[in-house]
């Protein structure tokens, strides 16, 4: 634990254990999403699915990056990951992004993807709202992830015909906002 780091957050009036719990839940959501997206991506095939595979893959890799970026903050603040991975899955901040009943239904897969991203956008907005002006490092982390989740949402929402999002798929490196936490 980074003692003074924790003390600063406490002094700002935040309940550090609640922040840790939120970070654990979001780390759980990222790792489980990475897992479930692996299955979704494998099923994005055929004329319709193939066009979505690339952004699903980018979103999947970036969610794994988000997991990696969150974990150090948990330990800095004096928290830890659950020892049992089953518990970790069950405390996830978002429901499982499970493969739809009909795995050939690309629109149904897209809906699962967009709902997962929307859950993430809400979750990191919540974390930003709580930490703004108080826990600067968690805020910076949550905001960096939020920037990427918003792009994930917009990619999938365009394919669902919800109108233009103003975004283009990633060119070059993944995680342009979160990479500073991965170095």
């Amino acid at each position: 634990m980074a003692k003074v780091t924790r003390e600063m957050v406490e002094k700002a009036g935040l309940n550090v254990d609640e922040i840790i719990e939120l970070l654990v839940k979001n780390a759980g959501a990222e790792l489980t999403t990475y897992y479930y997206y692996t299955i979704l991506r494998a099923n994005l095939i055929g004329l319709q699915g193939e066009g979505i595979k690339e952004i699903a893959e980018t979103a999947r890799i970036e969610d794994r990056n988000h997991f990696e970026a969150i974990v150090p903050r948990i330990y800095e603040l004096g928290g830890k990951l659950p020892e049992d991975m089953k518990d970790f899955h069950d405390v996830s901040a978002c429901p499982p992004a499970a493969l739809p009943e009909d795995p050939t239904d690309v629109m149904a897969i897209l809906k699962v993807l967009v709902e997962a991203e929307r859950c993430a956008v809400r979750g990191y907005t919540h974390l930003c709202n709580i930490t703004a002006g108080k826990d600067h490092r968690t805020y910076d982390l949550a905001l960096s992830i939020l920037n990427e989740e918003i792009e994930h949402e917009s990619w999938f929402s365009e394919f669902l015909g919800e109108g233009p999002s103003g975004h283009f798929l990633r060119r070059g490196e993944t995680s342009p906002f979160v990479s500073k936490f991965l170095k």
Binding site: E18, K25, P95, R122, N129
Partner: protein, 77 residues
């Protein structure tokens, strides 16, 4: 439809296998089966057994989310 007081609502806190009810705008919703309300807690800081009308105004989603759950009763004024 059942009417519960604020005190009666508190019993439905979702802990130790109890049902998880939350109130909003006078309606009481049953969120027991929601993945996002496990153990009567939502996003760590929101608790079942309470009137969340005020908290929902600040939430990063609108009240339609709650409207997906069955209404179990009304909150007594």
């Amino acid at each position: 439809m059942e009417e519960l007081t604020k005190e009666e609502l508190q019993k439905y806190d979702g802990k130790e296998g109890r049902k998880a009810y939350v109130a909003c705008n006078g309606n009481i919703y049953d969120v027991t089966d929601s993945f996002l309300w496990k153990n009567g807690k939502h996003q760590v800081i929101h608790h079942a057994g309470e009137d969340l009308t005020g908290e929902l105004r600040e939430a990063p989603h609108d009240i339609d989310f709650l409207k997906k759950f069955p209404v179990m009763g009304r909150l007594k004024k």
